[in-house]
Protein backbone atom coordinates (compact mmCIF):
# COMPACT_ATOMS: atom_id res chain seq x y z
CA UNK A 1 0.00 0.00 0.00
CA UNK A 2 1.43 3.40 -1.00
CA UNK A 3 0.31 6.44 0.92
CA UNK A 4 0.71 10.18 0.30
CA UNK A 5 0.07 12.50 3.23
CA UNK A 6 -0.88 15.75 1.48
CA UNK A 7 -0.83 17.89 4.64
CA UNK A 8 1.55 17.23 7.51
CA UNK A 9 3.88 19.50 9.50
CA UNK A 10 6.97 17.31 9.71
CA UNK A 11 9.10 20.13 11.16
CA UNK A 12 7.27 19.39 14.41
CA UNK A 13 7.77 15.62 14.22
CA UNK A 14 10.60 13.27 15.08
CA UNK A 15 12.64 10.80 13.07
CA UNK A 16 10.68 8.05 14.85
CA UNK A 17 7.62 9.40 13.08
CA UNK A 18 9.35 9.30 9.71
CA UNK A 19 10.37 5.72 10.37
CA UNK A 20 6.88 4.68 11.44
CA UNK A 21 5.31 6.49 8.50
CA UNK A 22 7.58 4.71 6.05
CA UNK A 23 6.78 1.37 7.67
CA UNK A 24 3.06 2.18 7.33
CA UNK A 25 3.45 2.86 3.60
CA UNK A 26 3.89 6.65 3.45
CA UNK A 27 6.17 7.48 0.52
CA UNK A 28 5.39 11.16 -0.04
CA UNK A 29 4.33 14.15 2.04
CA UNK A 30 3.51 17.79 1.48
CA UNK A 31 4.29 20.14 4.34
CA UNK A 32 2.30 23.37 4.26
CA UNK A 33 3.84 26.45 5.82
CA UNK A 34 1.84 27.35 8.89
CA UNK A 35 1.78 28.76 12.41
CA UNK A 36 4.32 27.29 14.81
CA UNK A 37 2.28 27.50 18.00
CA UNK A 38 4.48 30.30 19.31
CA UNK A 39 3.69 33.52 17.40
CA UNK A 40 6.47 34.90 15.22
CA UNK A 41 7.41 38.52 15.66
CA UNK A 42 9.43 39.30 12.56
CA UNK A 43 9.62 38.38 8.87
CA UNK A 44 13.08 36.87 9.34
CA UNK A 45 11.75 33.95 11.34
CA UNK A 46 9.42 33.17 8.43
CA UNK A 47 12.33 33.12 6.02
CA UNK A 48 14.34 30.74 8.17
CA UNK A 49 11.24 28.53 8.39
CA UNK A 50 10.65 28.60 4.63
CA UNK A 51 14.34 27.85 4.03
CA UNK A 52 14.04 24.88 6.34
CA UNK A 53 11.03 23.60 4.36
CA UNK A 54 13.20 23.87 1.22
CA UNK A 55 16.39 22.51 2.75
CA UNK A 56 16.70 20.57 5.95
CA UNK A 57 13.23 18.99 6.07
CA UNK A 58 13.36 17.36 2.60
CA UNK A 59 16.83 16.13 3.53
CA UNK A 60 15.47 14.55 6.72
CA UNK A 61 12.56 12.98 4.85
CA UNK A 62 14.85 11.53 2.18
CA UNK A 63 16.85 9.72 4.87
CA UNK A 64 13.66 7.77 5.56
CA UNK A 65 12.70 7.15 1.95
CA UNK A 66 9.97 9.78 1.85
CA UNK A 67 9.61 12.46 -0.84
CA UNK A 68 9.02 15.87 0.75
CA UNK A 69 7.49 18.90 -0.94
CA UNK A 70 6.07 22.03 0.62
CA UNK A 71 3.59 24.82 0.18
CA UNK A 72 4.57 28.38 1.08
CA UNK A 73 2.41 31.22 2.39
CA UNK A 74 1.74 33.71 5.13
CA UNK A 75 -0.79 31.87 7.31
CA UNK A 76 -4.08 33.63 8.13
CA UNK A 77 -3.48 33.81 11.87
CA UNK A 78 -0.24 35.75 11.51
CA UNK A 79 -1.59 37.77 8.61
CA UNK A 80 -3.29 39.75 11.40
CA UNK A 81 0.03 40.86 12.90
CA UNK A 82 1.48 43.94 11.16
CA UNK A 83 4.96 42.83 12.25
CA UNK A 84 4.58 39.77 9.99
CA UNK A 85 2.79 41.10 6.90
CA UNK A 86 6.01 42.26 5.12
CA UNK A 87 6.45 38.53 4.42
CA UNK A 88 3.90 38.95 1.63
CA UNK A 89 6.39 41.02 -0.38
CA UNK A 90 8.98 38.25 -0.27
CA UNK A 91 6.68 35.33 -1.10
CA UNK A 92 7.11 35.52 -4.91
CA UNK A 93 10.80 34.64 -4.67
CA UNK A 94 9.88 31.50 -2.71
CA UNK A 95 7.03 30.50 -5.00
CA UNK A 96 9.42 29.90 -7.92
CA UNK A 97 11.35 27.20 -6.07
CA UNK A 98 11.39 23.64 -7.39
CA UNK A 99 10.00 21.98 -4.26
CA UNK A 100 7.06 24.37 -3.82
CA UNK A 101 3.93 22.64 -5.12
CA UNK A 102 1.23 25.08 -3.97
CA UNK A 103 0.54 28.34 -2.18
CA UNK A 104 -0.65 27.52 1.33
CA UNK A 105 -1.94 27.26 3.93
CA UNK A 106 -4.00 30.33 3.23
CA UNK A 107 -7.63 30.97 4.16
CA UNK A 108 -9.47 32.39 7.13
CA UNK A 109 -8.87 32.18 10.83
CA UNK A 110 -11.00 34.92 12.42
CA UNK A 111 -12.30 36.42 9.15
CA UNK A 112 -10.77 39.85 9.60
CA UNK A 113 -10.07 42.51 6.96
CA UNK A 114 -6.35 41.73 7.24
CA UNK A 115 -7.13 38.09 6.42
CA UNK A 116 -9.22 39.20 3.42
CA UNK A 117 -6.24 41.14 2.11
CA UNK A 118 -3.73 38.31 2.63
CA UNK A 119 -6.04 35.71 1.09
CA UNK A 120 -6.76 37.74 -2.05
CA UNK A 121 -3.13 38.72 -2.49
CA UNK A 122 -1.93 35.15 -2.16
CA UNK A 123 -4.56 33.72 -4.53
CA UNK A 124 -3.25 36.19 -7.10
CA UNK A 125 0.32 35.07 -6.37
CA UNK A 126 -0.72 31.45 -6.93
CA UNK A 127 -2.19 32.36 -10.32
CA UNK A 128 0.96 34.32 -11.23
CA UNK A 129 3.27 31.48 -10.19
CA UNK A 130 1.07 28.88 -11.96
CA UNK A 131 0.58 27.06 -8.66
CA UNK A 132 -2.55 25.58 -7.11
CA UNK A 133 -3.56 26.72 -3.62
CA UNK A 134 -4.12 24.89 -0.35
CA UNK A 135 -6.87 26.82 1.42
CA UNK A 136 -7.82 25.77 4.89
CA UNK A 137 -11.28 26.39 6.27
CA UNK A 138 -11.60 28.03 9.68
CA UNK A 139 -12.16 26.05 12.85
CA UNK A 140 -14.68 28.55 14.23
CA UNK A 141 -17.79 29.59 12.28
CA UNK A 142 -16.83 26.98 9.70
CA UNK A 143 -19.74 27.00 7.25
CA UNK A 144 -19.88 30.80 6.99
CA UNK A 145 -16.11 30.75 6.59
CA UNK A 146 -16.36 28.21 3.79
CA UNK A 147 -18.88 30.30 1.87
CA UNK A 148 -16.79 33.42 2.24
CA UNK A 149 -13.69 31.49 1.13
CA UNK A 150 -15.42 30.19 -2.00
CA UNK A 151 -16.65 33.71 -2.82
CA UNK A 152 -13.14 35.14 -2.54
CA UNK A 153 -11.70 32.37 -4.74
CA UNK A 154 -14.45 33.02 -7.33
CA UNK A 155 -13.41 36.67 -7.51
CA UNK A 156 -9.73 35.74 -7.83
CA UNK A 157 -7.61 34.87 -10.85
CA UNK A 158 -7.27 31.29 -9.61
CA UNK A 159 -9.86 28.80 -10.93
CA UNK A 160 -11.78 26.83 -8.28
CA UNK A 161 -10.49 23.54 -9.69
CA UNK A 162 -6.96 24.57 -8.72
CA UNK A 163 -7.96 24.98 -5.07
CA UNK A 164 -7.85 22.35 -2.34
CA UNK A 165 -10.26 23.24 0.47
CA UNK A 166 -8.99 21.56 3.61
CA UNK A 167 -10.29 20.58 7.06
CA UNK A 168 -13.72 19.83 5.56
CA UNK A 169 -16.40 17.91 7.46
CA UNK A 170 -20.00 16.72 7.09
CA UNK A 171 -21.36 20.25 7.12
CA UNK A 172 -18.99 21.75 4.55
CA UNK A 173 -18.23 18.95 2.08
CA UNK A 174 -21.28 19.42 -0.14
CA UNK A 175 -20.79 23.11 -0.87
CA UNK A 176 -17.06 22.61 -1.44
CA UNK A 177 -17.77 19.77 -3.89
CA UNK A 178 -20.48 21.74 -5.70
CA UNK A 179 -18.01 24.61 -6.13
CA UNK A 180 -15.67 22.26 -8.02
CA UNK A 181 -12.79 22.37 -5.53
CA UNK A 182 -10.54 19.53 -4.41
CA UNK A 183 -11.72 18.20 -1.06
CA UNK A 184 -9.31 17.82 1.86
CA UNK A 185 -10.09 16.02 5.13
CA UNK A 186 -7.84 16.18 8.18
CA UNK A 187 -8.21 13.13 10.37
CA UNK A 188 -7.34 13.89 13.97
CA UNK A 189 -7.44 11.86 17.18
CA UNK A 190 -10.21 13.95 18.78
CA UNK A 191 -11.29 16.85 16.64
CA UNK A 192 -11.95 17.59 12.98
CA UNK A 193 -12.67 14.11 11.52
CA UNK A 194 -12.18 10.46 12.46
CA UNK A 195 -11.65 7.31 10.37
CA UNK A 196 -15.22 6.06 10.43
CA UNK A 197 -16.75 9.44 9.65
CA UNK A 198 -14.23 9.68 6.80
CA UNK A 199 -15.43 6.36 5.40
CA UNK A 200 -19.05 7.52 5.67
CA UNK A 201 -18.23 10.69 3.73
CA UNK A 202 -16.50 8.66 1.02
CA UNK A 203 -19.65 6.50 0.77
CA UNK A 204 -21.91 9.53 0.45
CA UNK A 205 -19.83 11.76 -1.80
CA UNK A 206 -17.54 9.33 -3.63
CA UNK A 207 -13.74 9.36 -3.89
CA UNK A 208 -13.37 11.88 -6.72
CA UNK A 209 -11.00 14.72 -5.81
CA UNK A 210 -10.96 13.61 -2.16
CA UNK A 211 -7.65 13.89 -0.27
CA UNK A 212 -7.12 12.57 3.27
CA UNK A 213 -4.39 13.93 5.52
CA UNK A 214 -3.21 13.68 9.11
CA UNK A 215 -2.42 17.41 9.45
CA UNK A 216 -0.10 16.17 12.18
CA UNK A 217 1.81 18.99 13.86
CA UNK A 218 3.01 19.98 17.33
CA UNK A 219 -0.44 19.40 18.84
CA UNK A 220 -2.21 16.15 19.69
CA UNK A 221 -2.22 14.47 16.33
CA UNK A 222 -1.23 11.21 14.65
CA UNK A 223 1.08 10.99 11.62
CA UNK A 224 -0.24 7.47 10.85
CA UNK A 225 -3.84 8.58 10.31
CA UNK A 226 -3.54 8.15 6.54
CA UNK A 227 -2.83 4.47 7.05
CA UNK A 228 -5.63 4.14 9.59
CA UNK A 229 -8.12 5.63 7.14
CA UNK A 230 -6.86 3.29 4.40
CA UNK A 231 -7.39 0.32 6.72
CA UNK A 232 -10.86 1.57 7.66
CA UNK A 233 -11.73 1.89 3.97
CA UNK A 234 -10.68 -1.69 3.27
CA UNK A 235 -12.59 -2.92 6.29
CA UNK A 236 -15.68 -1.08 5.07
CA UNK A 237 -15.49 -2.84 1.70
CA UNK A 238 -13.64 -0.36 -0.50
CA UNK A 239 -11.19 -2.17 -2.78
CA UNK A 240 -7.43 -1.63 -3.13
CA UNK A 241 -7.85 0.50 -6.22
CA UNK A 242 -10.22 2.87 -4.42
CA UNK A 243 -7.80 3.17 -1.52
CA UNK A 244 -4.97 3.89 -3.96
CA UNK A 245 -7.08 6.54 -5.69
CA UNK A 246 -7.82 8.44 -2.46
CA UNK A 247 -4.48 7.87 -0.71
CA UNK A 248 -2.10 8.26 -3.65
CA UNK A 249 -3.47 9.19 -7.06
CA UNK A 250 -5.69 12.06 -5.91
CA UNK A 251 -2.95 13.91 -3.97
CA UNK A 252 -0.52 13.27 -6.83
CA UNK A 253 -3.05 14.67 -9.32
CA UNK A 254 -3.68 17.78 -7.24
CA UNK A 255 -0.06 18.66 -6.60
CA UNK A 256 0.87 17.70 -10.19
CA UNK A 257 -1.00 20.86 -11.14
CA UNK A 258 2.23 22.61 -10.10
CA UNK A 259 4.32 20.64 -12.62
CA UNK A 260 6.95 20.32 -9.88
CA UNK A 261 6.22 17.00 -8.18
CA UNK A 262 9.16 14.57 -8.11
CA UNK A 263 8.40 11.39 -6.25
CA UNK A 264 11.70 9.53 -6.52
CA UNK A 265 13.85 9.80 -3.42
CA UNK A 266 17.62 9.58 -3.30
CA UNK A 267 19.62 8.48 -0.28
CA UNK A 268 16.95 6.39 1.34
CA UNK A 269 18.94 4.18 3.66
CA UNK A 270 17.83 5.23 7.12
CA UNK A 271 20.06 2.73 8.81
CA UNK A 272 23.18 3.87 7.00
CA UNK A 273 25.94 4.12 9.56
CA UNK A 274 27.04 7.56 8.44
CA UNK A 275 23.60 9.11 8.41
CA UNK A 276 23.90 12.67 9.68
CA UNK A 277 20.52 12.52 11.37
CA UNK A 278 21.31 9.32 13.20
CA UNK A 279 24.45 11.07 14.36
CA UNK A 280 22.63 14.23 15.30
CA UNK A 281 24.98 17.10 16.00
CA UNK A 282 28.62 16.40 16.48
Amino acid sequence: MRLFDPHIHMTSRTTDDYEAMYAAGVRAVVEPAFWLGQPRTSPSSFYDYFDSLLGWEPFRAAQYGIAHHCTIALNPKEANDPRCTPVLDQLPRYLVKDNVVAVGEIGYDSMTPAEDTALSAQLQMAADAELPALVHTPHRDKLAGLHRTIDVVRESALPLDRVLLDHLNETTVKDAKDAGCWLGFSVYPDTKMDEDRMVAILRSYGPEKVLVNSAADWGRSDPLKTRKVADAMLKAGFDDDMVDLVMWRNPVAFYELSGRLHLEVEGTDATHEGNSILRGGE
Binding site: D51, L54, G55, W56, P58, F59, D89, Q90, R93, V96, K97, D98, N99, G259, R260, H262, E264, E266, G267, H272, E273, G274, N275, S276, I277, R279, G281, E282
Partner: protein, 254 residues
Amino acid sequence: MTRTPALGALRARLESALDDDARAWLAQALATAAAQPAPSEAPAPQVTASQAPAPTWELRFAQAGRRCGPEHADDARLLLLGAARADTATLTRLYEQGTAAERRAVLHALTHLVPGPEALGLTEDALRTNDTSLVAAAVGPYGAEHLDAHAWRHAVLKCLFTGVSVDAVAALADRARGDGELARMLGDYARERTAAGRPVPGDLQRVLALTEARTEARTEARTDALTESPTEQPAEDPTEQPAEAASAASPQES
Protein backbone atom coordinates in the same frame (compact mmCIF):
# COMPACT_ATOMS: atom_id res chain seq x y z
CA MET B 1 36.10 33.97 -14.05
CA THR B 2 39.43 32.40 -14.69
CA ARG B 3 38.50 28.74 -14.85
CA THR B 4 35.33 28.72 -16.95
CA PRO B 5 36.74 26.57 -19.82
CA ALA B 6 35.97 23.51 -17.70
CA LEU B 7 32.31 24.48 -17.97
CA GLY B 8 32.37 24.02 -21.75
CA ALA B 9 33.03 20.32 -21.38
CA LEU B 10 30.37 20.12 -18.69
CA ARG B 11 27.84 21.72 -21.03
CA ALA B 12 28.56 19.18 -23.78
CA ARG B 13 28.11 16.32 -21.31
CA LEU B 14 24.89 17.71 -19.91
CA GLU B 15 23.37 18.42 -23.32
CA SER B 16 23.92 14.84 -24.40
CA ALA B 17 22.12 13.62 -21.25
CA LEU B 18 19.03 15.83 -21.58
CA ASP B 19 15.93 15.20 -23.67
CA ASP B 20 14.98 17.62 -26.47
CA ASP B 21 12.70 19.83 -24.36
CA ALA B 22 15.18 20.18 -21.54
CA ARG B 23 18.05 20.81 -23.95
CA ALA B 24 16.12 23.58 -25.70
CA TRP B 25 15.17 25.09 -22.35
CA LEU B 26 18.79 25.02 -21.21
CA ALA B 27 20.08 26.65 -24.40
CA GLN B 28 17.59 29.47 -24.02
CA ALA B 29 18.31 29.87 -20.32
CA LEU B 30 22.07 30.00 -20.91
CA ALA B 31 21.61 32.58 -23.67
CA THR B 32 19.52 34.70 -21.31
CA ALA B 33 22.18 34.43 -18.62
CA ALA B 34 24.98 35.27 -21.05
CA ALA B 35 23.11 38.34 -22.32
CA GLN B 36 23.00 39.65 -18.76
CA PRO B 37 25.53 42.46 -18.34
CA ALA B 38 28.36 41.32 -16.10
CA PRO B 39 27.88 42.72 -12.58
CA SER B 40 30.90 44.99 -13.00
CA GLU B 41 29.46 46.46 -16.21
CA ALA B 42 25.90 46.84 -14.95
CA PRO B 43 24.73 50.26 -13.77
CA ALA B 44 24.51 50.64 -10.01
CA PRO B 45 21.07 49.47 -8.86
CA GLN B 46 18.68 52.28 -7.99
CA VAL B 47 16.70 50.14 -5.59
CA THR B 48 17.79 47.69 -2.95
CA ALA B 49 18.18 44.07 -3.93
CA SER B 50 15.07 42.98 -2.07
CA GLN B 51 12.86 45.42 -4.01
CA ALA B 52 14.27 44.80 -7.47
CA PRO B 53 12.65 42.01 -9.48
CA ALA B 54 15.05 39.12 -9.96
CA PRO B 55 16.68 38.97 -13.41
CA THR B 56 15.15 36.34 -15.71
CA TRP B 57 18.22 34.12 -15.60
CA GLU B 58 17.84 33.85 -11.83
CA LEU B 59 14.30 32.59 -12.34
CA ARG B 60 15.76 29.96 -14.70
CA PHE B 61 18.30 29.11 -11.99
CA ALA B 62 15.41 28.35 -9.61
CA GLN B 63 13.51 26.31 -12.22
CA ALA B 64 16.40 24.05 -13.28
CA GLY B 65 15.21 21.05 -11.26
CA ARG B 66 11.77 20.83 -12.78
CA ARG B 67 13.06 21.63 -16.29
CA CYS B 68 16.12 19.38 -16.45
CA GLY B 69 15.25 16.83 -13.74
CA PRO B 70 16.72 16.80 -10.24
CA GLU B 71 19.61 14.57 -11.34
CA HIS B 72 20.81 17.20 -13.84
CA ALA B 73 19.88 20.33 -11.91
CA ASP B 74 23.25 20.84 -10.23
CA ASP B 75 25.06 20.90 -13.56
CA ALA B 76 22.46 23.11 -15.23
CA ARG B 77 22.65 25.60 -12.38
CA LEU B 78 26.43 25.60 -12.43
CA LEU B 79 26.38 26.39 -16.16
CA LEU B 80 23.89 29.21 -15.61
CA LEU B 81 26.09 30.79 -12.94
CA GLY B 82 29.05 30.55 -15.30
CA ALA B 83 27.14 32.01 -18.26
CA ALA B 84 25.95 34.93 -16.13
CA ARG B 85 29.50 35.48 -14.82
CA ALA B 86 27.96 35.74 -11.36
CA ASP B 87 30.15 37.72 -8.98
CA THR B 88 30.59 37.14 -5.26
CA ALA B 89 27.71 39.43 -4.30
CA THR B 90 25.32 37.61 -6.64
CA LEU B 91 26.54 34.19 -5.57
CA THR B 92 26.11 35.16 -1.94
CA ARG B 93 22.57 36.38 -2.49
CA LEU B 94 21.61 33.26 -4.48
CA TYR B 95 23.06 31.08 -1.74
CA GLU B 96 21.31 32.92 1.06
CA GLN B 97 17.98 32.87 -0.76
CA GLY B 98 18.45 29.37 -2.17
CA THR B 99 17.01 25.94 -1.59
CA ALA B 100 19.47 23.25 -0.55
CA ALA B 101 19.89 22.29 -4.22
CA GLU B 102 20.54 25.90 -5.25
CA ARG B 103 23.04 26.36 -2.44
CA ARG B 104 24.86 23.25 -3.58
CA ALA B 105 25.18 24.67 -7.09
CA VAL B 106 26.60 27.93 -5.77
CA LEU B 107 29.18 26.03 -3.74
CA HIS B 108 30.22 24.07 -6.84
CA ALA B 109 30.53 27.31 -8.82
CA LEU B 110 32.90 29.07 -6.43
CA THR B 111 36.04 27.48 -7.82
CA HIS B 112 35.08 28.60 -11.34
CA LEU B 113 33.94 32.12 -10.57
CA VAL B 114 35.69 33.45 -7.48
CA PRO B 115 39.47 33.66 -7.72
CA GLY B 116 40.15 34.69 -4.11
CA PRO B 117 38.90 33.76 -0.65
CA GLU B 118 36.11 36.39 -0.60
CA ALA B 119 33.30 33.77 -0.84
CA LEU B 120 34.72 31.57 1.89
CA GLY B 121 31.85 32.52 4.19
CA LEU B 122 29.52 30.42 2.03
CA THR B 123 31.75 27.38 2.35
CA GLU B 124 31.92 27.89 6.09
CA ASP B 125 28.13 28.24 6.30
CA ALA B 126 27.68 24.95 4.45
CA LEU B 127 30.13 23.23 6.76
CA ARG B 128 27.98 24.25 9.73
CA THR B 129 24.97 22.39 8.30
CA ASN B 130 24.25 18.68 8.67
CA ASP B 131 23.00 18.32 5.11
CA THR B 132 25.51 15.87 3.69
CA SER B 133 25.11 17.16 0.14
CA LEU B 134 26.09 20.66 1.27
CA VAL B 135 29.01 19.38 3.32
CA ALA B 136 30.23 17.39 0.31
CA ALA B 137 30.02 20.45 -1.95
CA ALA B 138 31.82 22.61 0.61
CA VAL B 139 34.91 20.39 0.67
CA GLY B 140 35.34 20.73 -3.11
CA PRO B 141 38.17 22.61 -4.85
CA TYR B 142 37.24 26.04 -3.50
CA GLY B 143 37.31 24.84 0.10
CA ALA B 144 40.54 22.93 -0.55
CA GLU B 145 42.16 26.11 -1.80
CA HIS B 146 40.96 28.58 0.80
CA LEU B 147 39.97 26.91 4.08
CA ASP B 148 42.63 27.45 6.74
CA ALA B 149 44.23 24.41 8.34
CA HIS B 150 41.94 24.31 11.37
CA ALA B 151 38.71 24.68 9.40
CA TRP B 152 39.87 22.19 6.78
CA ARG B 153 40.72 19.53 9.37
CA HIS B 154 37.32 19.96 10.99
CA ALA B 155 35.71 19.66 7.56
CA VAL B 156 37.48 16.34 6.96
CA LEU B 157 36.45 15.12 10.38
CA LYS B 158 32.88 16.21 9.71
CA CYS B 159 32.86 14.11 6.54
CA LEU B 160 33.82 11.09 8.62
CA PHE B 161 31.15 11.93 11.22
CA THR B 162 28.33 12.42 8.76
CA GLY B 163 29.18 9.66 6.32
CA VAL B 164 30.27 11.91 3.45
CA SER B 165 32.80 9.91 1.45
CA VAL B 166 36.23 11.53 1.57
CA ASP B 167 36.23 11.12 -2.21
CA ALA B 168 34.36 14.44 -2.05
CA VAL B 169 37.34 16.17 -0.42
CA ALA B 170 39.31 17.95 -3.13
CA ALA B 171 43.12 17.82 -2.95
CA LEU B 172 42.83 15.46 -0.01
CA ALA B 173 46.23 13.83 -0.47
CA ASP B 174 48.03 17.15 -0.93
CA ARG B 175 46.52 18.80 2.09
CA ALA B 176 46.69 15.77 4.36
CA ARG B 177 50.32 14.96 3.61
CA GLY B 178 52.40 15.35 6.73
CA ASP B 179 49.51 16.90 8.69
CA GLY B 180 50.36 15.63 12.18
CA GLU B 181 47.52 17.56 13.80
CA LEU B 182 44.97 15.95 11.48
CA ALA B 183 46.52 12.59 12.29
CA ARG B 184 46.13 13.31 16.00
CA MET B 185 42.45 14.26 15.54
CA LEU B 186 41.79 11.10 13.53
CA GLY B 187 43.54 9.00 16.14
CA ASP B 188 41.50 10.53 18.94
CA TYR B 189 38.31 9.95 17.01
CA ALA B 190 39.23 6.34 16.31
CA ARG B 191 39.93 5.79 20.02
CA GLU B 192 36.62 7.40 20.97
CA ARG B 193 34.73 5.10 18.61
CA THR B 194 36.62 2.06 19.76
CA ALA B 195 36.04 2.88 23.43
CA ALA B 196 32.33 3.06 22.71
CA GLY B 197 32.45 -0.32 21.01
CA ARG B 198 31.49 1.22 17.67
CA PRO B 199 33.17 0.62 14.31
CA VAL B 200 35.65 3.16 12.99
CA PRO B 201 34.68 4.66 9.59
CA GLY B 202 36.66 2.97 6.82
CA ASP B 203 37.60 6.33 5.32
CA LEU B 204 39.47 7.21 8.51
CA GLN B 205 42.21 4.69 7.74
CA ARG B 206 42.52 6.09 4.27
CA VAL B 207 43.02 9.67 5.42
CA LEU B 208 45.33 8.56 8.17
CA ALA B 209 47.56 6.81 5.64
CA LEU B 210 47.69 10.03 3.62
CA THR B 211 48.86 12.05 6.62
CA GLU B 212 51.80 9.70 6.96
CA ALA B 213 53.12 10.12 3.45
CA ARG B 214 55.78 12.76 4.09
CA THR B 215 56.82 11.51 7.51
CA GLU B 216 57.00 7.88 6.55
CA ALA B 217 60.65 7.39 7.45
CA ARG B 218 60.26 8.94 10.88
CA THR B 219 57.08 7.05 11.60
CA GLU B 220 58.70 3.76 10.74
CA ALA B 221 61.57 4.51 13.05
CA ARG B 222 59.16 5.48 15.79
CA THR B 223 57.12 2.31 15.33
CA ASP B 224 60.27 0.29 15.79
CA ALA B 225 61.00 2.15 18.98
CA LEU B 226 57.47 1.52 20.20
CA THR B 227 57.79 -2.17 19.63
CA GLU B 228 60.77 -2.21 21.89
CA SER B 229 59.42 -0.08 24.71
CA PRO B 230 55.69 0.59 24.29
CA THR B 231 55.27 2.23 27.71
CA GLU B 232 57.61 5.08 26.92
CA GLN B 233 55.82 6.60 23.96
CA PRO B 234 56.11 10.39 24.04
CA ALA B 235 52.44 11.28 23.68
CA GLU B 236 53.10 14.83 22.51
CA ASP B 237 54.84 13.69 19.35
CA PRO B 238 52.22 13.80 16.60
CA THR B 239 54.17 11.63 14.20
CA GLU B 240 53.52 8.53 16.20
CA GLN B 241 49.77 8.97 16.33
CA PRO B 242 49.14 7.43 12.92
CA ALA B 243 50.60 4.11 13.98
CA GLU B 244 48.66 4.09 17.21
CA ALA B 245 45.40 5.18 15.65
CA ALA B 246 45.79 2.64 12.89
CA SER B 247 45.72 -0.15 15.41
CA ALA B 248 42.82 1.42 17.27
CA ALA B 249 41.03 1.87 13.98
CA SER B 250 40.44 -1.79 13.24
CA PRO B 251 39.14 -3.39 16.41
CA GLN B 252 36.44 -5.21 14.50
CA GLU B 253 39.06 -7.12 12.56
CA SER B 254 40.65 -8.70 15.63
